[in-house]
Symmetry: C2
Subunit: 298 residues, 2 copies
């Protein structure tokens, strides 16, 4: 790929930049980033790339454009780049939800432009270019969404791009994607936020310093609940329907759990706890987590 444009150079965007440069995937890498802090960090990396300040002043046809900003910023950036897109360009993103965001992108994007959404499963609680890593995508899933009328050759090209970055590629439709990640990612984040909120509510109510005793479990949730607020607001709003249905099942199960505790229902509780234990083993077998007690923290 001759010309690649990365829009947004935070954790994910700067990791794409580092990986593309290190794997020599493109001759010309262009960056569009507003944050002075991120730009400073990128400059220090001494990676050969061009930082675009003003789209008025350039004249390039991009082969690949990747949106790495929060999803709520896609629309305004599409207006900026439409004129640089040709029938050879592939436009993609790294956003965490697909149905609504894809609909919005298609509304704004110039006609007949190839749009294939991507979702690398490689987020973290930290944000910003400073935390970027060329190996961020290595051995992680990257889901590509097969939109209608997408040419095989374009899909293959994008698949190859992510594979070069080290990712394992899965292909599905937007609806399927948004359901799966509402359960495996969006609900967990929401639950973590809610748990930390509940703990701080108790702190205020009882005027006690509870947080100092968080090593018994709470601290794990606090990591996920420290994730970027703009990104997660966008996810919660754009995957509203799936997330609300996941919350409903969660509350239904929680009420059953509460009732089993109230009634001291031994066999039901033990069954529940044994079954969830099996899931951890499956996750480790699928190489979705490291096989060390306590995440190898101590």
């Amino acid at each position: 790929m001759k010309n690649i444009l990365i829009i947004g150079c935070g954790l994910i965007g700067s990791s794409v930049l580092r990986a593309v440069y290190s794997k020599k995937i493109s001759k010309n890498i262009y960056i569009y980033e507003k944050s002075k802090k991120n730009i400073l960090i990128i400059k220090k990396l001494k990676i050969r790339c061009k930082i675009i300040n003003n789209f008025q002043k350039i004249n390039i046809n991009f082969d690949l454009v990747i949106f790495c900003t929060p999803m709520s910023e896609y629309s305004k950036n599409i207006s900026r780049i439409n004129k640089f897109l040709t029938n050879k360009t592939i436009v993609t993103d790294v956003g965490s939800t697909k149905e609504l965001s894809s609909k919005n992108v298609k509304k704004k994007l110039k006609k007949n432009i190839t749009w294939i959404p991507s979702h690398p499963i490689s987020g973290s609680e930290v944000s910003g270019a400073i935390h970027g890593n060329k190996n961020l995508f290595k051995n992680k899933w990257c889901v590509l969404i097969k939109e209608k009328n997408i040419k095989k050759i374009h899909l293959s090209k994008l698949k190859l791009f992510w594979k070069k970055l080290g990712a394992k590629v899965a292909i599905m439709n937007a609806k399927e994607h948004d359901f799966i990640f509402s359960v495996t990612s969006h609900l967990p984040h929401l639950i973590a936020y809610n748990l930390v909120k509940t703990a701080t509510d108790f702190e205020k109510r009882k005027k006690m310093n509870l947080i100092q005793y968080s090593a018994g479990g709470l601290r794990d949730f606090s990591r996920i609940a420290a994730s970027n607020e703009i990104m997660w607001r966008d996810i919660f709003f754009s995957n509203q329907k799936n997330i609300i249905s996941a919350i409903s099942l969660f509350i239904k199960n929680l009420n059953l759990f509460k009732n089993d505790i109230k009634l001291k229902n031994n066999s039901k509780i033990i069954k529940k706890l044994i079954n969830t234990k099996k899931v951890r083993k499956k996750i480790i077998k699928l190489k979705q987590d490291i096989n060390k007690p306590d995440f190898g923290r101590f």
Copy 2:
């Protein structure tokens, strides 16, 4: 301390054994353990200690007795050891709840014996002597419960014992303890179990393999949800009242969260997410977790 008896030699018990031996805290260490698997591992450690098979055959006055079994096994073991206790003995445990378990212990324990419950905050998702570690208590909190009529000298002795094992000691009453840990440990575990249960319910309902995409958040919960089922059943049942009240506030908050998503209430969601982020910083500052993104996993 001349004679120490450790009852139950799983993760915590065998860690006490390793630490007591390594710090040369006691001349004579006695072990009572039923699991052949744990005994085999302890024998391999080549730690000088005596494994008791039958209490009928011994005649020792213990200075310190530590219950390291699940809480539901305390009662039957007290009957076995009562005759070896004197007014010099300190009896303690390592259990995760205190009000009910302490009441039950006092019912069974011989009159005028010093009973000071302990709770080292150093659990893990793994169990068994194989995972024991002499540094398990290092820099971790150990909460001691001040029961009525406890002599200062005994409390100081037990405090010193845990300090020698590397722990930071906090003293509180049973009621306070059970409330604090219902929020910082018991609720998080229950929520993790419930989240993994909800994900597997969705898997069955939709006949999809969701778990393979768990790196986006779910995997963190699966670690906690892999904890020992007997231990956690005992915790949920013995701290019933506090846990039920914590679940109720959690559900109330979750319904508010759901409503904010439904109404796309931007300012409320952003405020919630920013506030929970601050808690992570506090936890790291309090040295309750490591200061590395993603727990330093990658």
